[in-house]
Symmetry: C2
Subunit: 273 residues, 2 copies
């Protein structure tokens, strides 16, 4: 699935919501623990409840890796279960020398059939290029929303740019705006405006909505482009909104509420009008 | 296993060789493919043949991940098989927000019982700190040996340092020199001298010996400290030196030849004398 198809889904669903499937065996409702594969069972019910309100799912791979080979089976089943018209993101933050990145690319794009993967930029071009594949998207860490972002990403370069600006300028040259997206943390929404000037056409994946304190109004004011250009992720605020047997219904309600807010914002900003 | 114990093993074996277990199902001798777990069978024979000549094993996780849940089982069996007096490195290059890095830490340190893990620095302190555990070592990417290293790692900062120097200065403050090591690519051995001045006491993991063109003599001249302070990795030059049924014997001979070169260099530079 490429970004043209993603835009079609955003128009159809009036939503640019990505649901983060950060499924932690220690946090899912306890009644699911009697299931053969509690992580998949949880994901399945979350997907059934939220699929009409979101356009993307983003499993953070750490949660599956922490469970060993069983976790990878749960991930595979989850990917097979996600409807084909929903964009999938492997939040893996991988990056290695060329021939090794090629293996990661093979694992996530071929074996698990993800549409996209997040990658860390520190090792440069040959660590990112193996992910530039037809109908696949590589999502480069630009500016992240965590406290450690200030340690290196904000460093001022001799050129006058900060490191994250240089990372975005350089990596955006390695492929088309349909092949590359960028992670831009929602807590830094005042930086979104500057980033949008550097890359007017690219999609931005904005994590940290909800739990990490992002504000949707300010994100869209600074981040929208004429084809929306945003995927806003919420994980804990949706999937752990309730811990009863009713958790999936509540997750669906949370997702629907965000979708309605997004619908209103698309209208207000005359996107797709 | 901590770095004090690692130094003891370096003294005992007169070696600072790390063998990279980059085990690719497409590259191992074909007669092994009839085994139930060819990847583990290959690793087992490589370990048997090389364990007297090396002090560390470094599986690059991409090779296991590419095989899905089966690959993770092969990794688990490999870790269980490595003798306990040999230092183990998960070459995973992970790095995520704090609570997610915590899960990676749990996976590699607890589930697979690795002694250390490589991490990418771009996301800063909270992405690295969850790996600072008792008797475990975090190995931060400093300067890598691939062509893409020049894209960002060499960027000159306003402060006058290049990015990799700042990364090493900053991250070395996050723990003791027994808790943190750095990856420094062997192809950049003229940079080793400058890095050694910044961090005189830390261990450096030097990948790229052999296949990537590093030169051992120049690496030790610039990188040795008074407790050796180096782990030099060779992967393809050892494990794929031969593709016959005799591959393990040849791998052992290759490892022994490197160990003898290392022994001579330790003597020549009066380390541990």
């Amino acid at each position: 699935m490429n970004s043209t198809e993603l835009v079609k889904q955003i128009i159809r669903k009036r939503s640019f919501l990505c649901v983060g499937l950060d499924t932690d065996i220690g946090k899912i409702p306890s009644f699911l623990l009697q299931e053969e594969d509690p992580i998949f069972e949880f994901n399945k019910r979350i997907i059934d409840a939220t699929k009409d309100f979101c356009v993307a799912y983003k499993p953070n791979i750490a949660f599956y890796e922490a469970e060993g080979s069983k976790g990878w089976d749960s991930l595979q089943k989850t990917l097979d279960y996600i409807p084909k018209d929903i964009f999938t993101i492997a939040d893996a933050k991988r990056g290695d020398i060329g021939n090794t990145s090629m293996l990661y690319s093979k694992a996530f794009f071929e074996k698990y059939n993800f549409d996209s993967i997040t990658v860390a930029p520190y090792m440069g071009s040959d660590s990112v290029q193996p992910f530039l594949k037809k109908d696949k998207t590589v999502i480069v860490l630009g500016l992240t929303s965590n406290v450690g972002a200030k340690d290196f990403q904000y460093l001022r370069l001799e050129s006058g740019d900060r490191l994250f600006e240089q990372v975005i300028k350089t990596t955006s040259q390695w492929g088309s705006s349909d092949q590359i997206m960028f992670v831009v943390g929602a807590t830094q929404s005042y930086e979104l405006k500057a980033i949008r000037k550097i890359i007017p056409d690219h999609f931005l994946l904005v994590p940290g909505y909800g739990a990490q304190g992002g504000d949707l109004q300010s994100v869209v004011e600074n981040g929208f482009n004429n084809r929306c250009g945003l995927l806003v992720n919420s994980s804990r605020g949706i999937i752990y909104a309730d811990s009863s047997t009713n958790f999936d219904v509540v997750a669906g309600q949370k997702a629907e509420a965000i979708q309605q807010e997004m619908d209103a914002l698309l209208t207000q900003h005359s996107i797709f009008n």
